[in-house]
């Protein structure tokens, strides 16, 4: 265990002291954050203008992944564009009632009026209200399900750069003194609350940044192009969003409010995550090369991020705590087969071991980091919080992605959903290529420590990633059923004689120079 993190800045001052779980797994992972919000937050950091604190001065870096030795020891500050007018326009009507302050009601009304006035009424066959309804719903249709939240806390799927909103927070009290036609209408929010965008995306960003800066330079340009292309895949939405935000600013009559007022400072991740740098970069760039529908790309990308973060956490914990339990034994066995019970038993046993690794590692972290007497008194609470931000996160997100079953009850274990299977195929096999099924099993084991077959279980045991079990031949049925599942997803074909191929059927994305 070490004190070192990436970036390794002012962590040692008491004020900024990280929790144990943040030190061990990165600052910070929280159960409130949905998988789409991981993606949104990650993209937000990537596309925002940035500074390396105490190094670049006021010069802003526009690279998605800046390369600099200084990042090792200096925090990254990023400045996302808030576009509050647009956010209000999309969400105000469809959000919690009790947190709507008077000023925002007025502002929303002003926004509608301004946009109403910019409609070309002569040519229009439709009423003003109807067109506004349409504009709102085009955008709102892409909202991330979060029904109970206030308008300023809601998010859209990252369909274009304009709608990647930083999280904002406001109480009615804070907003009570704000006057319409002032900059404060859009700026008097707290942009540093991290309730839902809890920095999980930052953790992922830093992991990629570390990877690019440590031997992954060749991926930088490709990855930046890919992200740019993904965010540019729906120019119509961009155009509508820009129009609304511009009209709102005109209506508000505040000059130059496009200047970013939001400043955020990235946290830090453990240096141990470096072990996966090469894998993560190659997976994500291979995945982004697939030419698929933009919405599907967003969906699968978010699954991929979460899967990679789970892997980072579990392996780091297993290595750090010297526990043979990092492998994920996936239960993909057909319930009607007689081997099902055994597969289920082994899979849930391994799931417990996965959690055991993390808990042991947390305990070691507590011993290492909480040495002061006042900390020692709080250990039960510290431990409880740490579990909440680690194993509980995995359970919650895993269930929502369909890779942890059952949704409630005993024998919790990993399985593979179609989305995750697709991500694995698209990130491990280049678009348009094929590999043998056995090779694919090797790849998912090597990259994600995913075990489906008896051979890989034995390999996992020999590599101290799973506990010894005498007879695991029943996993053969699991393997056969996995092949069937891949077939049903349209990704596998039997070639002949126990040789099947897994094919990535998609075309490669084309990039303009």
């Amino acid at each position: 265990m070490t004190d070192k993190m990436y970036p390794n800045d002012e962590l040692r001052t008491d004020k900024n002291k990280y929790s144990v779980q943040s030190r061990l797994f990165g600052h910070r992972i929280k159960p409130q954050q949905t998988r789409y919000e991981y993606l949104v937050e990650f993209l937000q950091v990537a596309i925002a203008k940035k500074r390396i604190m105490d190094v670049t001065g006021e010069n802003e870096i526009t690279d998605y992944f800046p390369v600099s030795k200084d990042i090792e020891n200096h925090a990254i500050e990023y400045m996302p564009v808030s576009n509050m007018g647009l956010k209000r326009f999309i969400f105000f009507n469809n959000s919690r009632l009790d947190t709507k302050s008077d000023i925002d009601k007025k502002a929303y009304q002003l926004c509608l009026e301004t946009i109403g006035s910019s409609l070309d009424k002569d040519n229009s066959l439709e009423s003003e209200k109807y067109i506004i309804y349409i504009l709102q719903n085009i955008l709102y249709g892409f909202s991330i399900e979060n029904a109970g939240r206030s308008w300023f806390n809601k998010n859209l799927l990252p369909i274009c750069p304009e709608v990647i909103f930083p999280e904002s927070l406001a109480t009615k009290k804070d907003r009570s003194n704000v006057k319409l036609y002032s900059e404060e209408v859009d700026s008097s929010f707290s942009f540093n609350s991290y309730t839902y965008m809890a920095r999980g995306g930052e953790v992922y960003y830093l992991h990629l940044l570390h990877a690019v800066n440590n031997g992954g330079l060749e991926y930088k340009e490709r990855l930046e192009k890919q992200i740019g292309k993904m965010l540019d895949s729906m120019p119509e939405i961009s155009e509508i969003s820009r129009f609304i935000q511009n009209e709102w600013q005109k209506g508000l009559d505040v000059s130059d409010s496009n200047t970013p007022v939001v400043k955020k400072k990235c946290g830090a991740i453990p240096v141990e995550y470096g072990y996966r740098d090469e894998y993560t970069l190659s997976e994500i760039t291979t995945f982004m090369d697939n030419h698929i529908q933009p919405m599907e790309k967003i969906n699968l990308f978010s699954c991929g991020i979460v899967l990679q973060i789970f892997r980072l956490m579990t392996t780091t914990a297993a290595k750090g705590s010297h526990t043979a339990g990092s492998a994920w034994v996936m239960d993909v066995c057909d319930k009607n087969k007689k081997e099902y019970a055994e597969v289920k038993k082994l899979s849930s046993r391994c799931f417990l071991m996965n959690e055991e690794c993390i808990i042991k590692y947390i305990d070691m972290g507590i011993e290492y980091h909480c040495t002061k007497p006042q900390d020692r008194e709080k250990i039960p609470k510290i431990r409880e919080d740490a579990e909440k931000d680690t194993t509980k996160v995995i359970r919650k997100l895993g269930k929502s992605m369909g890779i942890i079953i059952p949704l409630s009850g005993a024998n919790m274990r990993f399985t593979l959903s179609e989305d995750v299977i697709k991500f694995l195929v698209m990130s491990l096999i280049p678009a348009g290529s094929k590999v043998t099924f056995d090779r694919f099993l090797d790849l998912i084991y090597e990259h994600f420590e995913i075990v489906v077959s008896p051979e890989h279980y034995e390999r996992a045991v020999s590599e101290n990633k799973a506990v010894y079990q005498k007879n695991v031949t029943f996993l053969q049925t699991n393997k056969i059923d996995f092949a069937q599942k891949l077939k049903n997803c349209g990704l596998l074909r039997d070639l002949s004689d126990a040789t099947a191929i897994v094919e990535n059927p998609y075309e490669r994305e084309e990039y303009e120079n």
């Binding site: 946009i115 910019s118 409609l119 070309d120 040519n123 229009s124 066959l125 439709e126 067109i131 309804y133 349409i134 504009l135 719903n137 085009i138 249709g141 892409f142 399900e145 799927l157 369909i159 729906m234 119509e236 939405i237 155009e239 509508i240 009209e247 030419h291 698929i292 529908q293 933009p294 919405m295 599907e296 967003i298 969906n299 057909d334 369909g402 949704l407 959903s417 179609e418 697709k422 290529s433 094929k434 590999v435 043998t436 599942k485 077939k487 049903n488 997803c489 349209g490 990704l491 074909r493 039997d494 070639l495 002949s496 004689d497 126990a498 040789t499 191929i501 059927p505 998609y506 075309e507």
Partner: protein, 588 residues
Amino acid sequence: MNDFVNYINSMNNASSDTVEALAESQVLSDYYDKIRIDRAIGKYIADRIKKKERLTIVLTGHAGDGKTSILVQVLRELGLLTPNTPLKEEEEFIKDDIRLYAVKDMSELSENKQIDFCQKALEAPQNNMSAVIISNTGPLLKCLETINSRKNGEKINEAEKNRFQSELLEQLDSNKNEPILIGEYKILLINIARIDNVYFAEKILKKLIADELWSPCENCRKKENCYIFNNVRLINKYYGRISSFITAFYSYLYENDMRMTIRQMLSQISFSITGNHSCTEIGDNSKDVVKFRNLFSNLFFGFSGYDEIDNADQIQGIAYAKSLKLDSKALKCDYKLFVTGDLKDFPSDIRTLVESQKNIFNIKHLNIESNEEKDTVFNDKDTEYRKAIRRTYIFFGQESGKADKYNTLYDELFGSGFNDFMCIQHNEAEHSLIRRMENTITNALYLEMTGISSSQAREIPITIKRNDDSFQKVMLTNGSLKKSDFKIVAVNDSNEFEDIQNKKKVFLKICNQDTFRLTLPMVIYFKEIADGVISTIADPSLTHGISKLKTLLQKNCTGNDEITIIVNNTDVPTDLKLYIYDGKIFVE
């Protein structure tokens, strides 16, 4: 006694005696020639060798797919092998102008021998010879990869290795009649597993019931009691119906990539005739119950009457038949069979068997014979009874006025759309049927694209729709495609290797430009979407690669400057166009 019964009993793996299952040993049996079926590929290879083409041919495929039989066929056609002669590991045949080097089965050899023999076969054309190698795919890939890396110097990088493997896999997948290069050597790599063998089923069935093979039974004193012979007679009598179902069943498996090998078919069909019983087990009385228990329809599914037969799952076809639970599916005929008790759909001899079952069942069910204490006995065989009757119905039930080949029963069993797909695949579809399937697909796509269903709409808006179940009231579209832009086409894809030439691949042609291969599971899935079958998180239905089709639709629908929108209203969806120009929004 009929020796043939013992012979076919030894061809499946549900019992311990499976000596005859392997082609190598079969070659030595007298019965081998009687049930052997010549294949197009065997003739094709022999012809090329006869023409003195010097080439190296590698035959690979599933174990039991008839690779060795093809080699035997080639050697016999060339006059190089006489009946009852065993094959050697490797052999050079020289007769007149014919010079052939043959390797019987690579997978039985040590790794060094594999490489040596393979090398020799590759060099054969240089030595003015042809060569045929038989090999399972695993060892073959390994062997060719070793030879390739040796050719390219000891160490070749990972990328080259992957490229080479990918090339081999590509050929194994596409099975083109074109040679590929292994270093400087040219080989014709043929994957038997890619040759459609479904239509062998009926040929196998025909061969197995040939009069000649069963003539000893005609003189047997137990012939009236013998359920084995009873099955043979029934198959002869109802050959059309039985072979049609077996073909449909294997087609369904084939189209779902659960392809059966010839040996597996032979196992299942032979087991269905004898139930692995021998002549000595036939008793002296002829009860209908015993005949029903061992009826072809029960044995085909691995049942003896109501009970599952131990180890029958070892036969792949039976394992599939059980896992598909075909006999548990509610059929339209259920009401007739189980409620009104009308058995008229069965031909008379079968009806007698079924009626005897019905009576036994009724006695138990209605407690006719029971005294008062037994009145509370719960009849726990309801399900099994129904399943057994359904199995009988599947094979012997009659539907008047329906062509046997595309029996509507198959749609009930395998999924709605099965018959239509088969019909198109065999180029036997009428125009109206193709239109109907096009409509199903376009309706399903419409629903996928908009979240609502409409069979009236003429155009499918290509929307930017989210990938989950959230409903979007207003959606952006990248334009739209006319429903008439979607055409189903059947394309001839067979080459000289195939035994049947009229089978087509089915494609969805979009805007006369891109094509998308349609498979049976996909067609059934489309039908389910169009019919509104719902999937849930707990029971997700897998999408069979439809997202690739959606990507193609986007591609065919190039955007323009205007923003097109579809609004899902309560009645019909409205299309709108939106322009942003000079700080103003224009809507049409």
